[in-house]
């Protein structure tokens, strides 16, 4: 994580001119006054699936950490023998901000990779507009926990298959079958390094969320997304 902090340097020295979310926006009178509404989208997936890359391709990425008390779940994993006093653990994640229009900001949060930080996921997921689950076809199983998590909480998500160079190409349908996804959940091939791809993914996700919202308000209770 430390290498990522290089981005932190310039703005952090000046507690005045806040985040220059887009080039020159701070100087544009229309953007004055900052965001009034904030929405968030999560970027999940297994370790090395490209979460940080994706967040960085569409927004200025920043590191974020929190100190959390070690949960019962975390204890067997964190070997605290000999350091019993250590009751907290540091959880690091990435986040980025995109200014969508004056008064509206979208925050992207890369979820912590390790499964033992589920308690952080819960907080991240609260009120989230949706989630992108990045899948690496070489290690498809790595994104199972993410898929399960969002299915259980009925959070709209799509699966983005990050096409690494040299990795075998699978069709979206093959990935859908392998992940046992419901037919309405979008599966999109992408290159997480490309800004255009990142934008397309986000648009597709929000459209999916809007469509699901429409149907779910019509039929009151849950849609097919939580059906499994």
């Amino acid at each position: 994580m430390d290498s990522v902090r290089s981005d932190l340097h310039a703005p952090a020295t000046a507690p005045g001119p806040a985040y220059d979310g887009g080039a020159g926006r701070a100087n544009d009178p229309r953007w004055r006054g900052g965001p009034a509404v904030a929405v968030k989208i999560l970027v999940a997936g297994g370790f090395g699936a490209g979460k940080t890359t994706l967040v960085g391709s569409v927004s200025e990425i920043r590191p974020l950490r929190t100190e959390e008390e070690l949960s019962e779940l975390g204890r067997p994993v964190d070997d605290t023998a000999g350091v019993e006093a250590k009751r907290t653990t540091t959880v690091a994640m990435d986040f980025g901000r995109i200014d969508l229009r004056p008064g509206l900001a979208l925050y992207l949060f890369g979820t912590p990779g390790q499964d033992r930080f589920w308690f952080v996921w819960d907080e991240l997921a609260r009120g989230a507009l949706g989630a992108l689950v990045l899948a690496d076809t070489r290690r498809l199983a790595d994104c199972f926990p993410s898929v399960d998590f969002f299915e259980q909480r009925r959070i709209p998500f799509l699966v983005a298959v990050n096409c690494f160079e040299g990795s075998e190409l699978f069709s979206p349908e093959e990935v859908r079958d392998a992940l046992d996804l419901d037919p309405d959940i979008p599966v999109v091939l992408c290159d997480a390094r490309r800004r255009e791809d990142g934008k397309e993914l986000l648009v597709a996700l929000v459209e999916h969320a809007a469509a699901r919202r429409g149907t779910s308000t019509g039929t009151s209770t849950g849609t097919s997304a939580g059906a499994r």
Binding site: G16, L100, L202
Partner: protein, 200 residues
Amino acid sequence: MSGPMADEEPKAVAADPEPPGPGAPGPGTAGSGTTGADAAGTTGGEAADRGPDGPDGPDGDGSGLDLFRPRTPVDDRWFDDEAGPVVRLYSMTRGRARPVEDGLFDLISLIVAKDPAPVAAAVPAHVLDPEHQTILAWCRREPISVAELGSYTDLPVSVVRVLLGDLYDAELISVTRPVPLAELPDERLLRDVINGLRAL
């Protein structure tokens, strides 16, 4: 993301929470009430001027090329911080792990300093720690999310929340909670998000 600067960044980051506090937006200016906004403005300017100098300081020292340059406060601030944080995180929060009101400070809750700050004068400056002052300085210009505050101050979000709780109790900040999306099938908001993304 790792650049050539990566090595010295932790130093710079570690030092950052300090300077804004004892600097211009410190206890003195906070007490002066009506000039608060001006003080914040000049702080930003000074800090911006200082910014480019920051990396030069350690570089010069490291290579030993510029030993005769007069030392500035910018140089001096590296000394203590190189030894690591002097104040343990939970000393800043006086042992508190949770803010007073749970759920108020979501990661994307937007915080803004109350303006003008007549109330600030009512709160004795010495009650606020440097970290409080730093956070407050960040909140002065425009609403800023809890996540950004954590990132800018290099403090864990959990600590930022406790400190924000103090500022909230002192009525120095106002908080906008995020839209509860689950309860709000707001097609217009979603359309705004989509249009905004397409226009990027």
